[in-house]
């Protein structure tokens, strides 16, 4: 194959820069693999390594410092047939560390070349993630306080299945790069070189010294057996093809007449773990089965199994604009956590409103009718109190009735859960706990 070097744009590195040797080695590797420019995307970011893409006749994507691997991931997932090679300096390795670790864990078929010359060349020789502590650099004494990392060991630990180290001027580099690019999976090569413009001005470092240092390190020169596994993209496509197609939520056909075909506002005041949002959804579906429109606005903290859980449901024959509650007609007091978040609601309720109180929880005084429901007495666990209250509402024919609620269960749940929930509802409807309560308004 012909060289892919862009002869109109020869390398512009400092005289003596190791990067130039890597450009030539990469071109030889492409030739060895028989790749055309159209089959390759070179992805680069900021720093001297970021110039790489301009020296080749390939597709190219040059972006932000340390982020080359993020674009590379998108390119490769979108076009699995493309050979994607990312270049990054030791600066990019530091700022883009999260992406390097993620690429190692993910194992997309990408190749990362770390152009490691131990400092930030372009900005004046500041220390990087790989600068030895003893170096003299533009960061004064600061680099003496931080330990350099060994990119090879880091990416190996993070799960890269192909890891190698090399001197930029090694004669074996073209062959190594061809192996890395040809490897199916994530491959990372730490390519160490001399930065004559900055690092080597104050620090003695020769290709021979780099070779000697590399020889003293544990060898990393290709596949890491313990990390070898199926490539991400092909695994993704296989698993994705096995996923069932999802459909829109079911359409709810109006089948019933609503007991009160006017705007109803229902406030559910409960706690996490009481299936409050699910109860809100059931109420909406029940309303829709009577041709009403519905909104469900929920409020809960970021904690999952603790804290309040509040749902605000509006059912209306008209279009619902404002989704907040103006005058709740029904309040379900399911837990003190929820009640404590809306204490002023109880003062505002008029005598026509009704509060269904589960299990005698504490709540503020109100002019609304209060119906005490002894749901624990019916054997209902706390998790079912919201559903129990909906059943009571249906029995009282407030906002919904029995058939509306049962149809909501069918729409919302799998057959098994629906039938279990139906038993709970029927149990409450049979026991009629609301009939024993005296709605005298005094909690």
């Amino acid at each position: 194959m012909a060289s892919l070097l862009n002869t109109e744009r020869p390398p512009v590195f400092c005289p003596g820069c190791s990067h130039e040797a890597v450009v030539r080695a990469l071109d030889q590797a492409f030739q060895e693999l028989g790749l055309r420019g159209e089959e390759i995307a070179l992805v680069s970011d900021i720093g001297c390594s970021g110039l790489f893409d301009t020296f080749f006749h390939t597709h190219a994507l040059h972006g932000l410092h340390g982020r080359a691997l993020t674009y590379a991931a998108g390119l490769k997932l979108a076009r699995p047939e493309l050979t994607v090679v990312a270049t990054m300096g030791d600066g990019g390795l530091g700022i883009g560390g999260a992406h390097v670790l993620a690429a190692c864990r993910r194992n997309l078929d990408l190749t990362l070349l770390i152009l490691n010359n131990f400092n930030f060349g372009m900005t004046g020789g500041q220390f990087s993630a790989t600068t030895p502590e003893s170096s003299r650099l533009g960061s004064s004494f600061l680099n003496s306080l931080e330990r350099p990392m060994d990119p090879g060991r880091v990416v190996e630990a993070a799960g890269a299945p192909f890891v190698a180290r090399s001197s930029a001027t090694s004669r074996a580099l073209p062959e190594l790069l061809a192996r890395a690019i040809g490897f199916t999976g994530f491959s990372a090569v730490d390519i160490r070189g001399v930065c004559p413009g900055r690092f080597s001005k104050q620090n003695r470092l020769t290709p021979k010294m780099i070779e000697e240092e590399l020889a003293a390190l544990p060898p990393l020169n290709g596949p890491i057996e313990a990390n070898e596994r199926p490539e991400y993209g092909s695994s993704y496509r296989r698993k994705a093809s096995e996923c069932p197609e999802v459909s829109l939520p079911p359409a709810i056909e109006p089948a019933f007449a609503s007991p009160q075909p006017v705007r109803q506002e229902v406030l559910l005041l409960g706690a996490a773990g009481q299936r409050v949002v699910t109860a809100g959804e059931l109420l909406c579906l029940a309303g829709m089965s009577a041709g009403l429109q519905a909104t469900l606005k929920s409020d809960y903290p970021i904690t999952v199994l603790r804290g309040h859980s509040i749902s605000e449901v509006i059912l209306s024959p008209e279009v619902i604009e404002y989704t907040g509650l103006l005058e709740p007609s029904v309040v379900l007091a399911l837990a003190e956590d929820g009640v404590a978040r809306r204490p002023s609601v109880f003062e505002r309720l008029g005598p026509e409103a009704v509060v269904l109180r589960a299990a005698g929880i504490d709540m503020p005084k109100t002019r609304a009718g209060v119906v005490d429901l002894d749901l624990p007495g019916l054997g209902l666990k706390r998790v079912d109190w919201a559903l129990g209250c909906l059943a009571a509402l249906a029995g009282m024919e407030r906002a919904i009735h029995r058939d509306m609620l049962l149809s909501a269960l069918e729409k919302r749940f799998s057959a098994e859960i629906a039938s279990e929930s139906r038993r709970t509802v029927e149990q409450v409807l049979t026991a009629r706990p609301w009939a024993e309560a005296s709605p005298d308004g005094s909690p």
Binding site: H57, H59, A102, I252
Partner: protein, 383 residues
């Protein structure tokens, strides 16, 4: 990639929340790539995309952070896929540098911001319109972006399709300014009445023509698109200041022409991305300008004020950027009072004040996690 809405039976009322609606809108617009990072209240979009895309040949990637999420979208978009990411304020902050990249390098992308109460990590489960100015100006270079703003589930579907269409047609990032109060609020909706816009695609060059990635045809402001990885031409993309060939340039004339074209392709075409609705009396004495979930309270307030015999209208802005200056001036041509109602401390009121320097413009803001109420809006009109 994807299916069109026409392939579904859309009749009857269903329950959807805004986040699910955004995902279906994206799918019907042809989105083939979604990458995101978990964040309340935007995670629902991630979850819905994860249900919808994989079985239909699309890709969903859980990225290692928001920088990677949007970076992967940029890569996938340059490879030719329609791409979307979704986040909330804290994630938008991390998007910032890549948003500049998408603007300057003309990469189509839809960014959904399900806004929550800021500043900073703020309140994850409380709504607000925290990022209205941030979306417009949170990028280096200050070049224009497009921001669409839904007020309900229906808008989430329709405007997401519009957002993709604009991103593809104008090769730029387009934001959807959602809000916890829309994203996580479920509503009954009859989808059969949806007027979904026709799906648009990037314009590609005719085969056989020489291709330069940032060259525009005479009289056109948007360069033709070919994907990275295509076999007809080598495609270069770069975040650096570039000429038509996608290589770095330092030529001030070339740079100025590129900057001006990117500004012009949005601002001179504002009419093609203008979504707004005036409800109530045209040429009213009092105009309530609003957007997002607050528009719903404003409509409730409008009904009350009309019953009281007030000459009043509500201007609902579904495009926030570019600012619909003509529509705002027109709606307020006879207004003695303009109220700008929004869930922040007056981020958009300042735009309205700028456009209407000689009118009485009253900002009505609320930023405590609760909705502005119809009563608050009615009272603001009464003064």
């Amino acid at each position: 990639m994807g299916k069109c809405a026409g392939q579904y039976d859309l009749s009857g009322f269903r329950m959807l929340d805004g986040n699910e609606a955004v995902a279906w809108g994206a799918f019907w617009a042809g989105c083939g790539f979604f990458s995101g990072y978990p964040i309340t209240p935007a995670t629902g979009i991630f979850n819905a995309m994860l249900g919808i895309l994989p079985p239909s040949g699309g890709t969903v990637l859980q990225a290692e952070d928001e920088i990677a999420a949007i970076g992967a979208c940029l890569g996938a978009s340059m490879a030719g896929l329609k791409a979307m990411t979704a986040t909330s304020g804290p994630g938008l902050s991390l998007f910032s540098e890549h948003i500049s990249f998408a603007i300057g390098s003309e990469i189509p992308l839809v960014i959904v911001d399900v806004q929550r109460l800021g500043p900073s990590t703020g309140s994850a489960t409380k709504g607000a319109d925290s990022d209205i100015q941030f979306m417009r100006w949170g990028s280096s270079g200050g070049q224009p972006v497009i921001v669409l703003c839904p007020m309900d589930v229906r808008d989430c579907l329709v405007l997401t399709v519009q957002a993709f269409n604009l991103a593809e047609a104008f090769r730029c990032p387009v934001f959807l300014a959602s809000n916890k109060e829309i994203g996580l609020t479920k509503e009954s909706i009859d989808l059969s009445g949806l007027a979904l816009p026709a799906v648009r695609e990037r314009t590609r060059p005719e085969p056989g023509q020489g291709y330069l990635p940032f060259r525009t045809r005479p009289g056109q402001d948007v360069p033709l698109f070919l994907p990275i990885g295509g076999q007809t031409a080598l495609v270069r993309q770069t975040s650096s200041t570039h000429g038509q060939d996608g290589y770095i340039t330092t030529d001030p004339q070339v740079i100025a022409a590129m900057q001006e074209r990117r500004r012009r392709k949005v601002e001179a075409h504002a009419g093609e991305m203008a979504f707004a609705e005036l409800r109530g009396e045209p040429e009213a004495e009092a105009v309530i300008i609003t957007y997002g979930v607050t528009a719903r309270a404003a409509l409730a307030a409008l009904a009350v004020l009309q019953r009281q015999g007030r000459s009043v209208s509500v201007l609902i802005l579904r495009t926030l950027w570019p600012v619909l200056e003509g529509r705002i001036r027109e709606a307020c041509s006879r207004a003695g009072l303009v109220v700008v109602a929004e869930m922040n401390q007056g981020q958009y009121a300042r735009e309205v004040q700028r456009i209407l320097p000689n009118r009485s413009v009253r900002g009505l803001g609320r930023m405590d996690g609760d909705l502005l109420t119809p009563t608050e809006i009615t009272e603001a009109v009464h003064g």
